[in-house]
């Protein structure tokens, strides 16, 4: 029970009681093939054999996930795992074959064209892997574009766009054209554009995959900085597990269209649901992911020295333990003693169980 409560607490950094999810999908399917609708007639759901027999491919296979307001959900998978299709179904860039997608309780899949356009003009933003900027418009006009589409007046939208350009750190480049910018700068424009309508839900489709490693890291920091200010509800796609670990509140691991496991990084590492997830997490630096809380024992009188917070990662105490401390007290956010962590448990995390 306690562990469950912790999980909710960490998954929702700001909330105390769980609000309704900002974005949710249930039993979502996207099947490619000759006539996929027949597979779902009368509420039926195809099994693997039926799909194979008809030559169908389920790019999204019965996926149900919820994203809480202000949460960063990372969808992680290798190419062909269906993660790109999933995000497009969630944004209804493509029509799903079956299932529900709810945005703040409204079903996206039954919405008409007009409402959908309204929703995108006010509630959603998306960042693309290859930037997808308009080559004939300046940085400022690119950022102002979604506002122009919804009919905002010139002066007002340029003012807003200028704020956005400043937000992503591109002041002084407003008059540039996309091809005059580096990849990282172009993606900053893409980010500014997607944020211009002040969306609640922010989709990012491998936004940093086309950038080289150093720039990628810089952009990840930038992304975290923005999110600390803006508190968007985020679905972020990546094939880079390192990136997922750095940015995620929770991670979905996708394979062959299925969500193999949904959970915090720590859960995936400590309790992989499937062999595939276990393989994925095997090489991960555990000390940076596993929290003190998950290896602590009951409070122990023998514990001594400076206490560590329960939410700290193992790497925060590793050095002290290796250098000789036997047991260290653990405290919660308020400073109250909640447990103790022993040296043996820490060494298990660092080097594997003896």
């Amino acid at each position: 029970m306690a562990a469950r409560a912790h999980e909710i607490e960490t998954a929702l950094p700001r909330g105390t009681a769980a609000p309704p999810p900002a974005l949710r999908c249930e039993g979502l399917w996207k099947v490619f093939g000759a006539d996929p609708a027949t597979l779902f007639r009368n509420g039926g759901r195809p099994d693997a054999d039926a799909l194979k027999a008809g030559g169908y491919i389920a790019a999204v296979n019965d996926v149900s996930i919820e994203v809480a307001a202000g949460e960063i959900l990372i969808v992680m998978g290798l190419s062909g795992s269906g993660k790109s299709t999933l995000i497009r179904c969630l944004a209804r860039l493509i029509d799903s074959t079956a299932g529900r997608v709810e945005v703040e309780g409204r079903n996206l899949l039954t919405m008409n064209e007009k409402d959908l356009i309204e929703l995108r003009r006010h509630k959603m933003g998306m960042v693309f892997q290859n930037f997808a900027l308009l080559p004939h418009k300046t940085v400022l006009d690119n950022v102002a574009f979604p506002l122009q589409m919804r009919g905002m007046g010139g002066r007002e939208r340029l003012k807003r766009a200028r704020e956005m350009v400043t937000l992503v750190g591109l002041e002084g480049r407003e008059a540039y054209f996309p091809r005059e910018l580096s990849g990282g700068q172009q993606q900053r424009v893409g980010i500014a554009r997607s944020l211009a309508v002040e969306p609640d839900i922010w989709f990012l489709d491998e936004p940093f995959s086309a950038l080289d490693p150093l720039i990628r890291r810089e952009m990840q920091d930038e992304f975290l900085r923005l999110q600390r200010m803006l508190h968007k509800t985020i679905v972020f796609i990546t094939h880079d597990f390192e990136e997922a670990l750095r940015l995620a509140d929770r991670i979905v691991i996708m394979r062959n269209g299925r969500a193999e496991q949904v959970g915090r990084a720590e859960e995936l590492v400590l309790n992989p649901a499937t062999e595939y997830v276990a393989r994925f997490t095997r090489e991960v630096p555990r000390a940076r992911i596993v929290t003190v809380r998950s290896v602590m024992d009951a409070p122990d009188g023998a514990a001594s020295g400076r206490p560590v917070p329960a939410s700290a990662r193992i790497e925060a105490v590793a050095r002290r333990m290796i250098e000789g401390e036997e047991t260290v007290p653990v405290v919660d956010e308020g400073g109250a003693l909640v447990g103790s962590v022993r040296r043996g448990r820490v060494l298990d995390v660092l080097f594997g169980a003896a």
């Binding site: 497009r88 944004a91 860039l93 356009i117 309204e118 995108r120 003009r121 006010h122 959603m124 933003g125 998306m126 693309f128 892997q129 290859n130 997808a132 900027l133 308009l134 080559p135 004939h136 418009k137 300046t138 574009f145 979604p146 122009q148 589409m149 919804r150 008059a175 540039y176 054209f177 091809r179 005059e180 554009r193 997607s194 309508v197 989709f203 489709d205």
Partner: protein
């Protein structure tokens, strides 16, 4: 497939299935040819009694559309509109009556504005090119004809761009329209120029407006194709970005998709302009005045020197239009660090200044306004002319080289051309069908084979089989020579980056010349006869082979070349084992284009005396016989499409096998 069952057999002896099929088809065709005397007549030539009267049917349809559906009302309206547009532009450029009946723009102003435009688009180089060309036109007394030609292009090109854009966008938006449009585009782009002229004459009569309308119809298909290609080639995320920005479909098209596809669209615009110029010259057959009309007259009366001057004008105009439109296409937006008065208004002010200054000068000296017919400046007399030296050259050729050329011509005719022609005419249509369908099957499977068989059957049924065979013989002789020369030339040019660049530049320039001007040097050498027709085809059709061979060789990945080098291959081994096999699919595309170019040229060459489909087409044109003209046009198109089907399916298959995209 056959090799799969016996993988261990010595591979050199195993005939792959495609080869087996080709061999079988060849043997069967040979058998049909040898057994010709024993074959029933119907298998040698389609019986005339069973020949459907396509021409009469088409005429019936046209008559019905024109008279009973009242299309004449529409066509008359279109004709009036086009006529008026032409009048306005022509009046502005030449001062001819019509339009607003104003004074023409001074020639000095036109030339200076073109120079300034060249400077804006491409710096000094294009300024010199533009200015030089228009100065040539003025000084050599070609101004008025050139302006007539230009006014046709100025009216036809925007209309063709607009029409092509609309068709392309419609096909992009509606899948059913795309599947309808693509085969039609394939057909239209294989129809020779003349095939467009005849229906236009029937619907619109003859004259300037008819020339403009034929030109629009000829030039719009490539634009439609490039529009469709460009829009379909956009990354999916472009469309998605538009959707996520809240675009309605219309907003997405206007603000996102069309502007993002600009590069492809500009390629289309460039093609339209070049096609327009080529067609405007040929449209002189149906009354479009200007350089083409004069050229036609001079060639008919064998005034080669004057024809040469006109040819130079057309070529210069073509180069200017091509380079200017390409420079515009390549112009990318650049930000200004500080928006100043100069960055914003610099070029418009320069243009306005040039306009006012030259207009003022022309007002002071009328010579600068309208070039008089003759002008003696004391040190030089205008117009300048190139005609006397060229005529002298032609005289020398016809007198001193006469015997040598005549002997060569006679030898070629007797030993090669006439036997080849007889051989083609001896072929039973069934033999041709079997052979070509077999090739198509080996290249592209059943679908290709059926398509090609249908094409050949149409030729047999059309009633123009013999004429078509004469066209085929001329084209195949010319193309064999062209490939024998062009392929090694392209391979050689492709060996070094510098040579390749130079070769491609030359090909680029030659390709912009309207096909008609290639007749001029050929007539200089061979006068008017069938050898000159074939020579004209060769000169024109060699460009794509050379060009695609260079490109193909240059596109071979350098790692492969390095691997061959490290394996100790010498130059020739590398060529034979690496470059040629890998470049062959691309070269095949070039050969395909060469055949297309040849077909178009051989039809145009009818003008200097051939006995093939082109000749009949000229006759249909003078008789206003739409049905006959279109059937003949379709015959030419079907021949082109046959080669296209075989060559491009082979090329596509080979690319797949080699893993080249």
């Amino acid at each position: 497939m056959a090799t799969a069952t016996a993988p261990a057999a010595a591979p050199a002896l195993v005939l792959s299935r495609p080869r087996l099929i080709v061999l079988a088809a060849l043997l069967l065709a040979l058998a049909l040819l040898l057994l010709r005397p024993m074959l029933p007549d119907g298998l040698v030539r389609w019986p005339a009694a069973l020949t459907p009267d396509f021409a009469a049917w088409i005429n019936g349809v046209f008559y019905f559309v024109q008279e009973d559906l009242g299309l004449t009302v529409v066509t008359r309206a279109v004709a009036t509109l086009v006529e008026w547009l032409l009048d306005v532009v022509r009046n502005l450029l030449t001062g001819e009556r019509g339009g607003f009946n104003v004074e023409p723009v001074p020639w000095l102003t036109v030339a200076a504005l073109v120079t300034a435009l060249g400077a804006y688009l491409g710096g000094l180089r294009l300024a010199v090119l533009g200015g030089g060309t228009f100065l040539y036109l003025a000084l050599f007394g070609q101004w008025k004809d050139a302006m007539l030609t230009l006014s046709l292009v100025l009216v036809a090109a925007p209309a063709a761009v607009l029409l092509g854009l609309l068709l392309g966008v419609a096909a992009y938006k509606r899948a059913w329209f795309e599947s309808l449009l693509i085969p039609l585009l394939n057909l239209f782009q294989s129809l020779p120029h003349f095939a467009y002229l005849i229906p236009v004459v029937v619907f619109f009569g003859i004259g300037q407006h008819a020339g403009a309308i034929a030109t629009v119809m000829f030039a719009a298909p490539p634009m439609a194709r490039m529009t469709l290609l460009g829009l379909k080639g956009l990354a999916p995320s472009v469309h998605e970005a538009a959707l996520m920005s809240g675009c309605t479909p219309r907003q997405s098209l206007r603000h996102v998709e069309v502007p993002t596809a600009r590069d492809a669209l500009m390629v289309g615009v460039n093609q339209v302009i070049m096609q327009c110029l080529a067609m405007v010259v040929i449209a002189s057959f149906i009354g479009a005045s200007g350089l083409g009309y004069k050229l036609l007259l001079r060639l008919q009366s064998l005034k080669i020197g004057q024809a040469f001057e006109l040819g130079v004008s057309i070529v210069l105009l073509a180069i200017v239009l091509d380079r200017f439109s390409r420079a515009y296409a390549a112009k990318k937006p650049v930000h200004a660090d500080r928006v100043t008065f100069r960055t914003r208004w610099g070029w418009p002010l320069i243009m306005a200044g040039v306009l006012l200054l030259t207009w003022g000068l022309a007002a002071l000296w009328p010579v600068l306004w309208e070039m008089p017919r003759h002008l003696d400046l004391g040190f030089v007399r205008l117009p300048l002319t190139l005609a006397p030296p060229i005529d002298a050259l032609v005289d020398w050729i016809t007198t001193d080289l006469f015997n040598a050329l005549q002997a060569f011509r006679g030898w070629l005719l007797l030993t090669v051309l006439i036997p080849m022609r007889e051989a083609y005419l001896a072929l039973p249509w069934t033999a041709v069908l079997v052979l070509l369908a077999g090739l198509a099957f080996a290249a592209g499977g059943v679908r290709s084979a059926l398509l090609v068989a249908g094409f050949v059957l149409f030729l047999a049924l059309s009633g123009w089989w013999d004429r078509a065979m004469i066209t085929a013989y001329m084209v195949s002789f010319a193309d064999l020579v062209v490939i024998a020369v062009g392929l090694p030339l392209g391979l050689w040019l492709g060996q070094s980056a510098r040579r390749a660049g130079a070769g491609l530049a030359v090909c680029d320039t030659l390709q912009t010349f309207p096909s008609f001007v290639y007749l001029i040097p050929v007539i200089m050498l061979f006068q008017v006869n069938d050898v000159s027709a074939i020579a004209a085809v060769m000169v024109y059709a060699i460009i794509p082979v050379v060009r695609y061979t260079i490109e193909g060789v240059r596109a071979v990945p350098s790692t492969l070349e390095e691997a061959a080098l490290m394996s100790g291959a010498n130059g020739l081994q590398r060529l034979w084992n690496v470059q040629l096999p890998l470049a062959l699919p691309h070269i095949m595309v070039g050969i395909n284009q060469t055949v297309m170019f040849s077909l178009f040229m051989v039809i145009i060459a009818a003008f200097i005396g051939t006995q093939d489909l082109g000749q009949e087409m000229m006759r249909a044109l003078s008789d206003n016989d739409v049905g006959k003209g279109l059937v003949l046009g379709l015959c030419v198109a079907v021949m082109g499409l046959t080669v296209d089907e075989i060559a491009s399916s082979w090329s596509a298959r080979r690319r797949r096998e080699l893993g080249i995209v």
